[in-house]
């Protein structure tokens, strides 16, 4: 199946993380021109190398997305080198694990800026060119915690849910312009982030990490963590020409983990 992504420009946020890297590689494999953004230079280099190894070439962008003042300059660089952004993948780093109570106001505000407002304003910057082209894809990566809140990840559970409401609203506004807007929910995908969360849980509960991992995989109907590639492929499909009638959806990539409908 030709995904119709060849020659289209894709901007991937959080491209240095495990999911962002897999998304970047999947899009590059389909012929998209990938701009890869991350705040971590070493992680961004690993992604640029992975895209090169896959036969592509990523435009590297050192980008702290919490800093709204640099959005215009970063888009200008992407547009100069690769043309207008047709595919925007809003993938953001995860917040620190916390309970729901007792989190400082400053932490809530900083995380809201970094995870939510940043995504909204970056998408706002991308939309006019998509409307002019009559074609656009906005894929926002959230977390299974928005449908089944994950204990100990209250900031993620709360703030990523805000993006689900925003995404659905945007999907209805932009559908007639040929722009689809969807949410993808990773379950437990084997990335450094999941390893970090497993280690944090093991430490918190005074148990071996292997035991936490075994318990976690046992709770997943597929009996294993997902691979980043499995996640990247779903994002690439939603970004594709083939997925043109899918909008306003929330798609789970979780091995059957979330038990609800």
């Amino acid at each position: 199946m030709d995904l119709g992504l060849s020659g289209r420009t894709a901007l991937v946020l959080g491209a240095g993380g495990g999911l962002g890297r897999a998304i970047s590689v999947a899009l590059a494999r389909e012929g998209a021109r990938v701009a890869a953004a991350d705040v971590d230079e070493a992680a961004l280099r690993a992604t640029a190398d992975a895209v090169t190894a896959a036969g592509g070439s990523a435009l590297p962008l050192l980008w702290d997305i919490a800093d709204l003042a640099v959005i215009e300059a970063r888009f200008a660089a992407v547009e100069a080198a690769l043309g207008s952004v047709a595919v925007l993948v809003n993938n953001t780093g995860g917040p620190p694990p916390t309970p729901a109570s007792g989190v400082e106001a400053a932490v809530w505000q900083a995380q809201f800026q970094a995870m939510v407002v940043s995504v909204m304003k970056i998408t706002d910057r991308a939309l006019p060119a998509m409307r002019s082209a009559g074609w656009g894809r906005v894929v926002t990566s959230a977390s299974s915690g928005v449908v089944a809140p994950i204990p100990g990840l209250a900031i993620s559970n709360a703030l990523r849910l805000a993006l689900v409401g925003w995404s659905k609203s945007l999907a209805r506004e932009e559908a007639a312009a040929g722009i689809t807007v969807n949410i993808v929910l990773p379950g437990r995908v084997a990335t450094d982030r999941i390893r970090f969360l497993d280690e944090a849980k093991a430490k918190r509960e005074g148990r071996p990490v292997a035991e936490v991992v075994a318990e976690s995989t046992a709770s997943i109907p597929a009996k294993r963590y997902g691979t980043p590639e499995e996640y990247g492929d779903v994002v690439a499909f939603l970004a594709s020409a083939r997925a043109s009638y899918v909008t306003g959806s929330v798609v789970r990539v979780d091995g059957g983990y979330v038990p609800s409908l």
Binding site: L44, A48, S57, P60, A80
Partner: protein, 275 residues
């Protein structure tokens, strides 16, 4: 109240190589050089380059070398000499300008000049770490009898040069100035590829790389590269000397980047001083 110069499209500048010179020029362009915009950068480590540029007001895209030409009207080559052709050929083929810092490498690649000629492009060798190239080119319109250059360098600016390695010349622990080379810029360009772009620029301005004479001294007392040049011509006899303050890269003088910036500033300047 537009004037003609206001209506002229700015020159889109690409920088190939983001070492001491490239970064300085990028910062100057970001701060504003009238008539020029920084359009794109290329570098060996593109991610590191993007990081070094992230603090600019308008960080340009960091793209592969082969993508530069489509994005710019002029390229500044300040990269390892081995990349000279890959950087400048697309610009010359498109009839554009290539500002070349690796002037030494032009000697072994005369076809680049032919390429520029065939397509209406131009190779510009900026005055760089030298001085008075305008006087030398003026004298060359008449008859130059001789051009002699004596370069004195701090030891650390010469360590590792192929000529010294191949001839087993030890300079690490010298106590007094040591003459390490006497010959022509053509020979020096091969034996001291990172250092001797200035001598080649001088020879290209004057009487060529085979008639210009050159001495290179390693001097443990020096912290600055020092060049003394003596020209004897039918129009004038003159001598010049310059002491260069090293940049972050001890093999590159700070004035090299400034020379490129001044060239860019002259492109659209209403008053242009020096030929």
């Amino acid at each position: 109240m537009n004037t003609r110069s206001d209506e002229r499209a700015p020159v889109r500048v690409a920088i190939a190589g983001l070492g001491a010179v490239g970064l300085e020029v990028a910062r100057a362009l970001d701060a504003g050089v009238p008539g020029c915009v920084l359009a794109a950068v290329s570098a060996n480590d593109r991610v590191k380059a993007a990081g070094r540029l992230a603090g600019l007001a308008h960080p340009p895209p960091v793209v592969p070398i082969e993508d530069l030409e489509a994005l710019a009207d002029l390229v500044i080559e300040c990269a390892p000499a081995s990349l000279l052709e890959a950087i400048v050929e697309p610009f010359l083929r498109a009839g554009k300008i290539a500002v070349v810092l690796s002037a030494g490498a032009i000697l072994t690649r005369p076809h680049l000049v032919d390429l520029a000629k065939a397509n209406g492009g131009q190779i510009v060798v900026p005055t760089g770490a030298l001085l008075g190239l305008d006087a030398v080119t003026a004298a060359a319109e008449g008859t130059i009898h001789s051009v002699r250059m004596v370069t004195r360098k701090p030891v650390k600016g010469l360590v590792g040069a192929p000529y010294l390695v191949e001839n087993d010349i030890q300079i690490d622990d010298i106590r007094e100035p040591l003459k390490v080379f006497s010959g022509t810029p053509r020979d020096a360009a091969i034996g001291f590829p990172a250092n001797l772009n200035v001598a080649v620029a001088l020879s290209l301005a004057g009487i060529g790389p085979d008639r210009t004479t050159l001495e290179i001294w390693a001097d443990p007392a020096l912290t600055r590269n020092t060049h003394r040049i003596e020209v004897d011509a039918d129009s004038a006899s003159f001598s010049m000397s310059i002491e260069n303050i090293p940049s972050d890269n001890p093999k590159t003088g700070r004035i090299t980047a400034l020379s490129v910036i001044s060239y860019l500033r002259k492109l659209h300047a209403p008053l242009r001083v020096g030929s």
